[in-house]
Structures are given as C-alpha cells and as structure tokens.
Symmetry: C2
Subunit: 566 residues, 2 copies
Amino acid sequence: MSTPPLNIVVIGGSAAGPKAAAKARRMDEHANITIIQKEADLSMASCGYPYYVGGVFDDRNQLICTSAGIVRDPNFFNAAKRIEAKVLTEAVAIDRNTKTVTCKHVPTGELTTLAYDKLVIATGASALYPPIAGADLSGIYTLHSLGDADAIRAIRDQKQATRAVVVGGGLIGFEVCEALHLAGIHTTVIEKMPSILPFLDHDLALLVANHVRSFDADIITGNGVAAFLGDNGAITGVKLDNGTELPCQLAVVAVGVRPNIALAQAAGLDIGAAGGIAVNEFMQTSDPDIYAAGDCVECTSLITGEKVRAPYGDIANLQGRVIGQNLIAEGSAKFPGITHTGICKIFDYTVGFTGLSATRALALGLDIETVMIAGLDIPPYMQGKLLISKMIADRKSGRVLGFQCIGPGDASKRVATVAMALRGQLTVTDLVNADLPYAPPYSMALDHVITAAQALENKLLGRMQGISVAEVKQRVDHGADCFIIDTRTPAEFEELRLGIGEVLIPQGALRSRLHELPQDKSKEIIVYCRVSLRGYEVAAILQGHGWNNVKVMEGGIAAWPYSREK
Amino acid sequence: MSTPPLNIVVIGGSAAGPKAAAKARRMDEHANITIIQKEADLSMASCGYPYYVGGVFDDRNQLICTSAGIVRDPNFFNAAKRIEAKVLTEAVAIDRNTKTVTCKHVPTGELTTLAYDKLVIATGASALYPPIAGADLSGIYTLHSLGDADAIRAIRDQKQATRAVVVGGGLIGFEVCEALHLAGIHTTVIEKMPSILPFLDHDLALLVANHVRSFDADIITGNGVAAFLGDNGAITGVKLDNGTELPCQLAVVAVGVRPNIALAQAAGLDIGAAGGIAVNEFMQTSDPDIYAAGDCVECTSLITGEKVRAPYGDIANLQGRVIGQNLIAEGSAKFPGITHTGICKIFDYTVGFTGLSATRALALGLDIETVMIAGLDIPPYMQGKLLISKMIADRKSGRVLGFQCIGPGDASKRVATVAMALRGQLTVTDLVNADLPYAPPYSMALDHVITAAQALENKLLGRMQGISVAEVKQRVDHGADCFIIDTRTPAEFEELRLGIGEVLIPQGALRSRLHELPQDKSKEIIVYCRVSLRGYEVAAILQGHGWNNVKVMEGGIAAWPYSREK
C-alpha cells in the first residue's frame, strides 16, 4: 500500500478513453488519472448525432449527459471519478524513453509535459474527406464531431436548405439521409460503388434502396462526386462523374473514417496490416506500457482470424473497459475480437448484419452455402412485420458465418441472436432447434432465425435447391428456357404479380395440374410464392414426381427488388 | 421406387402433429399420411387465444389460418399437403402387435381401424382442473381449447362479466388477466404459492406484481381457492383458503397442464421420470416405430441434463419437424433439448427468462453467483425504457446458467440473445465482450446483456459485493446496524427516496465527505442509486479508502419492490 500512486494518462476523451479511465479508477482509487481531450466536449454520444440533427430530440445536452442527467464535463469527471480531464488539449508527442506526453493547449498553444507510468492511446479516427474540387465551399460537412452536429442542426432549425446531397452510401450516409429527410430536406445519397451498404450483399442492398426511394429521398449508385459546385463561396450543387449536376444547398460527406495513428506512429509503435495501431489481446501496443483502443486500433475477426478495423462506439467501450482492468492488473482482461456486427435504422427499415456477407466470404475463398428467406417477425394476427434475411454457413462444417436481416420487422433482435450464435461458433444444426423466447407479441412459433436456419439446413442437405432473385431476373432478361410457377392463390396473383412469364398454379391445385408441366423432367423449373414457403413445398412435390431440376426462388416476391406488375 | 408407400399415422392435430406430418410430406411425396384430431379444428394458434379474448384482434379465423390467409381445415391439408386430416376423431387404442390405431368418430361413436408403419403421438396436454367445490358451476373456464377462447370472447363481447378471478399466477394466468383487463373486466389473480410466475426469482416476481397492481387488476398470493361460490348454477364468487370471499361472474383456471399419456401408457410405451412420454434424441419412444412430440413428452434440459417437460408451442414445432425427418429417414435428425426459455407480455411489461432461476439452481445444489441490474434498453435521448435483469452463472466455470429480464423495455431481444449464449454454453467472460448490434434506436452502446455480464464478472472476481433488495429490507426491518448511502443527486432524492434510514451522499460529494462515514472500517455499508451504477462506483471508492464491508444494493431503487417515500 505504500507504493506511489500509478500515473495513468489517457489520450482521447470520446468513448474508449473515458471508459478505460473510469474502469481504472474503479480498480484503483489512488491512481492519478488524466484524460487529454483535444475537443471541448467529453464522452460525446456521437452515434446520437443523426437523431439530434433530425430532430428526434432537441436537448443537445442529452448527447453529453449521463443516464442520470449529469453533464460529463471536467467538473463531473473530477467530482464523480477523480479523473482530471484536460479539454481543448492536444497530445502532440509521446516520448517513450522519458515516458512523457507533450500536450498543447489548443486555444493558447501553450505546451506542457505529462509523465505517465501507463499510457492509453484512444485518438479515434477522422472523417475521410475526398480531394474533390470545391471542397472548400461553405455548406459541406461531415457528421463526425459535435460541432458538425450543431452546424447541421442549425441548418435544419433555420430552414437554410431544401435540397441536400450525402456523399457515401454507408451506415452513416443513410443515418444522415434519414435525419435530413426528417428535417424536411430532399436528400440524394451518392455512392461511387455499384451497391450501397457494403456489408450487405447486393440483393439485400437493392431492397433497402427501394425502401429509401419510396420516401422523398433518392440514391445514385456507381457514380461518384467529381466536384462541388458553388456560388459566392457557398455550395449550390454537385457534379457527378458522369457529368450530371444536382442542385443542393448542403452536402454531407460520409465516405468512411481513417484511424488517427500519427501520434502512435511517430512514437515508433507498430501499425498493423489493416492500418490501425497494432495491439495484442490485452489491447497492449508494441510498447507494453502503452495501450490503445477504439477507432485508432485494429483487432481480430473472430470469424476469419484476420486483423480488421471496427470503428464502432460499442467496440470502443468494450476495449476501453479491458484496458482499464489491465492498467491496474496487467494481463487480467482480454478483448478476443469482433464478429462484424452492426445495425442501422433507415427510414422504416432496420438493417442489421453480423459475420460475413456472402460476397465477403466468397472473396475470402470460403466454401459456403447461403439462403435468403422472407417472413413475419410476429404472427399476422399480432400485426407482424416483414423481415428479409440471408444466412451464410460453411458448407462442410455447417458453422454459421454470417447473417443479414432487413425490413420493417424487428431485425435488431434477430441480429443480436445470431451474433451470439457466431460468438459461440454454433452450427446451422444448433440453430435449427434453438430454444428462443416465444409468445405471440414477440415471435412466430418458430422464430425468423430458426426458419432461416431450417431453410439453410434444407439446402445444405440437398433437400432444397435455391435460386436467387438476381439469377431469376438474369434468366428472364436473357430469355432462358425455364418454366416459372407462381404458387399463390388467384386472389394474390390478381393483386400483384412479377410478370416474368410465370404460370399461376396455386399450391393446392398442383397435384391435379401436373400434366401442364414440362414433359422433360430435367427442364429447369423455378417456383415461388409470396415468401417462397409454399414455393418450397411445391418444389418438394415436383421432385417427388420426378422433376429433377426444380429451384425455389429464395425469399419469393418479398425479396424481388425489380419492377412488378400491379 | 417400387417399395409400397409408407403408412404414417399422426395422433394429434394441434402443433407437433401437423408439423411432423407436413415435414414428412416434404421429405416423401408418396407416403400415406393421416392426422387424427379429436377436436374440430386443426393447427390452432393456441398461444394467440389470450389476444383474441382480449380483443387485440377480432377475426377468429386468424387463429386457424396460414400466413397467406388460408384456413387450415381438412380441405387445405388435403389440397396443399395431400395429408388426410380426420377431425372429430379420437384415437382410443394403439395395438403395437398389429400396428394399428383404433379410432372413434366423436359425433357418431363409430369405430375404425387404421394401420401404420410409423406412428406419431402428439396428444398434447390437458388443462389441470383442481377438485374444488363448485367446480361444476357455469362461468368457470380454462383457456386451453379454441372453444374456451370462443366462450370467454363471447363473455367479453356481451359484457356478461364485470369481475373475474384467474386461478393460477403463471404465464397463462397473467396473459388471461391482461386479456380480461383489456375486455374491461376487473380481474384478480389468485396464486396458492407465495410467489407468482414460478420461473422468476421472488425479487423479480414482486416487481411484476407491483406492475400488475398499478392497473385495475389485483393479485393474491399464498392463498388458494377453496371453493367456487354460486347461485342458480352460475358462479358468483370464490372463497379462498383463508376464508376471504371475492365476488366474480367469471373464473378462469390456469394452474398448469398434465401431459396426455394415457394412450401411450395403455400401449405399453415407457413414461419418463418427469411424467411425460419418454423419447430419445430422435423423438422415438420405447417402440422404435412410434415417435412422440409436444406437450405429451419429456425432453432433456441442456442446462442440467435432467428430463423435463416443456409444454410450449415452439418446442412442439421443433420436435415435430425432427420427427417428420426421422419418419422418412430414420435417425437423420435430433432434438437435443431445451434451455428453459420463455416469455410473456404482462400489461406494459415483458417478462422473459432462459435457463435456471437462482432459486432453481440453488435447489439443484449448484454453486452459483448471481447479479441483478437495472438499466435502459436504448439511450435516454431515444426514449429508452427500463429493464431489470438477473443473470446467473456457475461460480467455478463462469458458465452462464440463467437470465431473467423484465420491464417496459425490450426484454425479448435480451432474452433471445442470452438464450443463444446458453445454447453455446458461453461464459460470463464471453458475454462481457459480446459484439452485439449497436445503434441508438436499438441499444445502449453497451447492451443491457453486456452490462449484466460485466456486473456479474465484477462479482465473480470479487470486485463488487452485492446485496439484494430483499436482504436490505430484512436488515432494515430488523433494525440491523448498517450504514446506508443513497448516492444520487439532491434533486433525485427530493423526488423519490426509499426512507430506510439512508444518508444522501451524492457520488460527486463523497470523497469530501468521507469523515461522515463510520470510523469502524469493517462496519457494513450499503450503497445504491437509481440503478446502482453510481452505487457501484461509490463502493469502489469506499473500498479504496479502507472500508472493507461495502455492499452495492443490486438494481438500486429501480429494483426495490417495497414501499417508498415520495
């Protein structure tokens, strides 16, 4: 007890830094703990910015308050946690020999030196800002800092914009798109790549895009912003790579983030292959007295074993807590890695994912099976809402590798459920018999996750042959010689149909109409219904009668993202 | 292909039976499949009865329709699935030597015989009906059959009752209580045991009871119904064991179910220790040509290894699907067991659980650690709602053994998440770093499940000493010599306080008020706040200053089920 108190310095006051500091304090009442924070605010709930901008709530203080309503300013950190938080202070150099950090007071430029026994680097990431002509015009923002949120909120409140452009079709881009839509601003999301939301497979991304377009919002893909256009120093529009010009009074750039590694790099710490500060499972850098966490580090994928960057607020908090323990009790806590889980509200859809997409898994050379399903989250009599999902598994071991779930239904629960299954390295067979909480307000008798696993098991066992909506579209567009059956009722068919040359044979009438089917039993037959459950049953019947090339269009009409007949 | 078609007979047309039949059909188009169903309806969504009774929806057909809106009657089974469904037909005997089932047509009494190659017993369960005086009065129901639902719905529609009694405080009892409340009927739930909802620990059950009582509904515990009272053959009230009389025009008995094993027993099939038909992991009875599933069987607990009964609709469906596969491809599918997962909506609370309660674990002699926490499901600025949870783990291995979660927040997601963790036999350490989907509309940065696991880890590692609200109440009632600190702000204290002799020392003021604390550093100190997060931090501070008997009141004021001062 007579050892001198430990000097802990934490660089960064957003998520990982304060978490590490607070946990260290709970582990050791006597350590000296200092947080160095370049910005004016501390522990900002940055994931809440889009909701503040969109007017979901109006009290800005809620972004920097504890759950009990206390503002997390330096006084709070001092009084509640005995942590000295130096705001508007930038760490400009780390000297590992003298174990000191040189700090600059941002308003005055004054330099000071802080000694540390243990150092935490939580410098976060910076919003990428592509070098585009006109990028210095006013009216162009990122949504990365609380200052950004303030500025865009002011544009909303003062009705300074009627048209906006969001550059970048990722999670943040669509959160901003919805916020601006809520603010009454017509918004177009521009994505350079052919598909939005890169963690989603293209088929699901198309469905999300359709949903966004059903509101007063637009999406342009496969076309980047070539230049911002302006007048009198203010943005008036954007020019796209293909020459199109779009007028706007506001642009928000959301093309990703770059980890802030300069300080660590200058101090000679190892930078990893994924571009983040390299850390071991204790979140220790190549210098054992220096830890790092949050958006500036890379960590391990528990799915692929690769090093990856995971710049998410929850991961930063988890890592910060691990560091807080190790600062006081070295080697006492581990951060094993991530499972690529994320979620986003996009208008009335939830868009969630965990693990690998099929695209990513195939790019990694994995031998996978996938299935796409559609279904309700809770029973129709409880006003169930649609979910559309894709589940991915390793073909040999059956281990579940990924799950994407979108729609107006409760996708969040299903993604959390599968995320935990990934953490447990469960197989499709495990999920097929999962004991999940069932009551009509919360689930179908067989939850959507179980139904997805059952469909995937059917494919893995060769009991069902699937075909994606994209493949069907391609067949149809190329005039391929296949026989397409819609297995719904005449009433459903009247209301809405695909119009792709399909024949209506309701499931119940099939066995008496087998003579209408191709005589050639090896001819490709494609079947579907609203969600392709009846389609699947019909496929089984046809296989039972000798047709051996019957494919179920996965997800059915609910998953069809192309034009339909009404 | 020239083998004669398999004769499959399925006894029972509710959940497990039709599922087994339908899956068998998808596996084999040519088998002869017959369902024998005693009732008039098939595949009834019986878990939906309370919502129909309560008027959540009005179209009774929705209880017997497919998602596509087609009524699941014998015509549907014949046309869509080529399954012969004989309704109003009771299986009265199984002859295993001749492999036949004797059936009785209920309206006529006519007997017929059906031959089987493979038989499925899915006879379900019957509602228990205690032998109470007056049980033959009119106006006393169970809510087990669609006929029951029709009858109680008619009482609602015709406003035939203003006061009702529900006998039994389990899941169904409270679903019925809420339904009757929605129907405008004042309802009292009567539970013989000292605590409602036997799968919940008493502390959580008390909180649910408080919630129910905050509506126009009442609960009486520790007091059974001694007699139904009547006039002119109709119920007018109940008399309790302690002599109290309660007037009512309607009573619903929901004291559990008894597996329907008589048919299996008469056929000489093995009955298990838990009172259900014994089956192996293929759902095969002691006769390999006879399978059984649903409420009439027992299965394995994946937590304890014991044989248990799990009369839930989702489990019946899972088991039915396993049988469907094994009927056609023997030994191709297994049902490993259950993890004791369940959920129920009780007014504005969700009440969910998975695995073992602390009470159950202790009764089994397990060495466990538990923690109770309270917190929001999503951030305050997104209108987060409260969740109160208890997590239970094996003390040595850290394996999570159970989780209970209640409150107005989204408990369903958290229970599903932990249910999957139980399936994967994950430890508290695994959950502490779970990568769950985070965005403000769906979760706190650290999800409630993670927070629970972190608190439990703190206890397992001896970093936090907890005390339950019940133990604190006991201390206070017995005038125990302990020092109690409320660590909230004065404003919070003014608004609401426990009034148990506590001293208000806001967290931020603690370090300057240490002199107010007991000089005797071994004196018991109890700390809490709204949810006991600040309480936990204060406990760490006090420990840091030498107090060695500091206990955090788990869950804080949010978990305090006793009277409070306003």
